[in-house]
């Protein structure tokens, strides 16, 4: 393109304001017409109530389990008593213990578990659990309770709501289908924000700015809440205070989780990292940062060497005389191998700056530029394809789920 063809950005002049006002008024009118003529964005839903009833079951216990196992902790938590302790250190002791207490109290599965630890050279602390343990479980309310289960009287119910397809004719809707205000508003907001973001193509404007700010704000808020749960709660607290997490967010957390002192170290590093926010304590954050950088560099070095260096060399040095499965000459694979080899060599010569790019070296370097240009062209073509797909997906949404045109 020649000079001076840049897009003029609309300024806040009287004319531009009038133009934008007219566009907005026309769009609002169009949206009203679309809502009442095309049922634009209207979502109908069906809801089903799911209900679960809580049962308790009390069982007598008489079994030996590893002291640190989740099963042992769960049984103690449910009311069982520890009436004896024993250490198993060798295979012989394990065999003798099986015949001593019997397979009912010391099951085959537990024995195998202990055996593998003993073979690894780790003595196992065993506990004898006796008495009764009362456990709590939930079953669908319409399902019959199993023997020994007693209803506690606690019932938990909720509604599962699902949207009907946007193109389902009114006559085909189930009798219990209802109009969903919240989902309809959601579709309308998604459509309006899509149009607001697209309006940037006409130049910077308040609608784009508003949509951009809401997107950034909501994304940041969502990411923060999600990272807190998946990072702090699900990785750190779950290993430091499993009881607290079980009470707070995850009642079904397996009892195999136990206090693990190793996680104190990342906990301290995490607190040090936050010190970056302190006015005078910024330097404290350098230590965990140094750890992260060092660990990541070491972590990545070997994998990069293997997959991005050695394997790439191996991939380049292939036979130029390719054969198919029947042992016959394969022309296209041979051509492919030659193109790869020549392309790599030409590019390497282009990036070889210890010799002046003159004569044969200069010609080869120009060939390298040609190969690079083809690569960039292919990359650009694929990028364009990706961007068009994104636009297609948004238009799909606008035409189908919002305007119900198809």
């Amino acid at each position: 393109m020649t000079k001076g063809t840049h897009t003029p950005v609309p300024k806040a002049s009287g004319g531009a304001l009038l133009g934008w006002s007219v566009v907005v008024v026309l769009m609002v009118i169009g949206m009203f017409v679309a809502y009442f003529t095309l049922n634009a964005g209207q979502v109908y839903v069906v809801s089903e109530t799911e209900s679960y009833t809580q049962y308790s079951s009390t069982n007598s216990i008489d079994e030996w389990l590893p002291k640190i196992s989740g099963e042992a902790r769960e049984a103690v938590s449910n009311g069982a008593e520890i009436s004896g302790e024993r250490v198993i250190a060798t295979t012989e002791e394990n065999k003798a213990f099986t015949s001593e207490v019997g397979e009912k109290a010391y099951t085959d599965a537990v024995s195998k578990q202990v055996q593998s630890r003993v073979e690894a050279g780790n003595p196992v602390d065993m506990v004898h659990l006796t008495g009764t343990a009362t456990s709590v479980s939930w079953l669908p309310t319409d399902q019959e309770a199993k023997e020994g289960m007693t209803a506690t009287g606690t019932v938990s119910s909720w509604e599962v709501t699902s949207s009907l397809p946007y193109n389902m004719p009114a006559a085909d809707r189930p009798a219990n289908a209802t109009f969903s205000v919240s989902r309809t508003v959601g579709i309308w907001l998604a459509a309006i924000f899509t149009l607001a973001i697209m309006s940037f193509l006409c130049g910077d404007n308040p609608f784009y700015k508003t949509a951009e700010a809401i997107l950034v704000g909501s994304s940041a808020g969502y990411a923060m809440a999600y990272a807190f749960y998946t990072g702090i709660v699900d990785q750190l607290l779950i290993n430091l205070f499993p009881g607290l997490v079980r009470e707070w967010t995850s009642p079904g957390l397996p009892w195999s989780y136990d206090w693990d002192w190793v996680y104190v170290i990342p906990g301290i590093l995490a607190i040090m990292l936050v010190c970056r926010l302190l006015p005078k304590g910024g330097w404290i954050a350098r230590w965990p940062l140094a750890f992260i950088i060092g660990a990541t560099a070491g972590f990545r070095l070997t994998s990069h060497l293997e997959s991005d260096f050695l394997l790439q060399i191996k991939g380049t040095i292939t036979t130029l005389w390719a054969e198919n499965a029947n042992g016959q000459f394969d022309l296209w694979n041979s051509v492919g191998a030659i193109v790869i080899l020549v392309g790599v060599l030409l590019c390497l010569i282009y990036f070889f700056f210890s010799m002046e790019h003159k004569g044969a070296v200069g010609k080869a370097a120009r060939g390298g530029i040609f190969v690079l240009m083809v690569t960039f062209g292919a990359a650009f073509g694929l990028t364009v394809m990706g961007r068009i797909t994104l636009l297609t997906e948004r238009f799909d949404f606008l035409f189908k789920e919002w305007l119900h045109l198809m």
Binding site: T2, P254, S303, L311, L382, G386, L391, D396
Partner: protein, 289 residues
């Protein structure tokens, strides 16, 4: 005329592009769709596994890339459903989890007898990127004790006996960036020799082609790759092409339906590039530029 083209406001081009994308959608224009050898090699990687094999499906993308990647993610899930493979879902991107739920819904509703925990399950999202891959290659349960629904892995039939990712017969990765296929190549396929195929966005494809065929068996590049894969899937499993399926979700999220806008938009781009170059050459000959 030449002067008008020379000073054409770029907003006219935006408008033209909008029309070029919108019209094929509204007119349901579908150009011929042919699968490539690369699409075939990805398809064969799943198809050639014995029925009921273990497949790890990692959805490492977010809603920003769903236009390109959701069709292929759903196609992978359907293919595994037809083959009755045991599918283990996971994601290294926090916003990948809703897509896993969608894929599990497809398996549950479209394929009779497939149940959570027996035929498919989800590990959900785990922060840590490549460190997660590195860990699960050695010891899965050191990192994941529960599934995404907080059930103990030892109580789920599919995972009770899984020690590490080496137990998988194939890893399928759908990715939009880092962490993604590159990390699966570096930390799973290369060191552990695990079979890997991937699907990626158009931007990523040139960076991943060097990993083919070793250690990555195949790559679906952007929407074109997904459309080719769907084409093979439709040929191999004609039940997908029934009216019922076409009226269901498959039709609205299918990649092959998005090839119409691609075709027309690319045609427009070619015309615009030729036109721009023509004007440039003419201007230079006249000594104007």
């Amino acid at each position: 005329m030449m002067n008008f083209l020379r000073n054409l406001d770029r907003r006219w081009i935006f408008l033209l592009m909008g029309v070029a994308v919108a019209l094929p959608i509204l007119l349901r224009f579908l150009p011929p769709n042919n699968a490539t050898m690369m699409d075939r090699s990805v398809f064969d990687a799943i198809e050639d596994l014995p029925d009921g094999s273990r497949v790890l499906l990692s959805f490492d993308f977010d809603p920003g890339s769903q236009g390109e990647l959701l069709p292929m993610a759903n196609a992978f899930a359907r293919h595994c459903g037809f083959k009755r493979h045991k599918v283990y879902f996971m994601c290294l991107w926090p916003l990948g989890e809703p897509f896993i739920e969608d894929a599990m819904k497809i398996l549950e509703t479209e394929f009779e007898g497939l149940k959570y925990g027996e035929n498919f399950m989800s590990f959900g999202y785990k922060p840590g990127g490549e460190a997660v891959i590195k860990n699960i290659i050695v010891d899965w349960k050191q990192l994941f004790i529960t599934d995404s629904r907080k059930q103990s892995l030892n109580k789920i039939p599919m995972t009770a006996n899984i020690k590490s990712a080496k137990a998988m017969d194939l890893i399928v990765n759908v990715c939009a960036g880092d962490p993604g296929a590159k990390q699966w190549v570096q930390y799973a396929a290369t060191p552990a020799g695990l079979p890997l195929v991937a699907g990626c966005t158009g931007v990523q494809a040139p960076l991943l082609y060097p990993y083919i065929p070793d250690p990555m068996a195949g790559l679906l590049a952007a929407i074109k790759g997904a459309a080719g894969y769907e084409q093979i899937l439709l040929e191999q499993y004609p039940s997908l092409a029934t009216d019922e399926m076409i009226n269901a979700r498959f039709s609205t999220t299918a990649a092959f339906q998005r090839m119409g806008p691609q075709f027309v938009a690319h045609l427009l781009m070619v015309v615009l590039i030729l036109l721009g170059n023509l004007i440039f050459i003419l201007d230079r000959r006249r000594g104007g530029a």
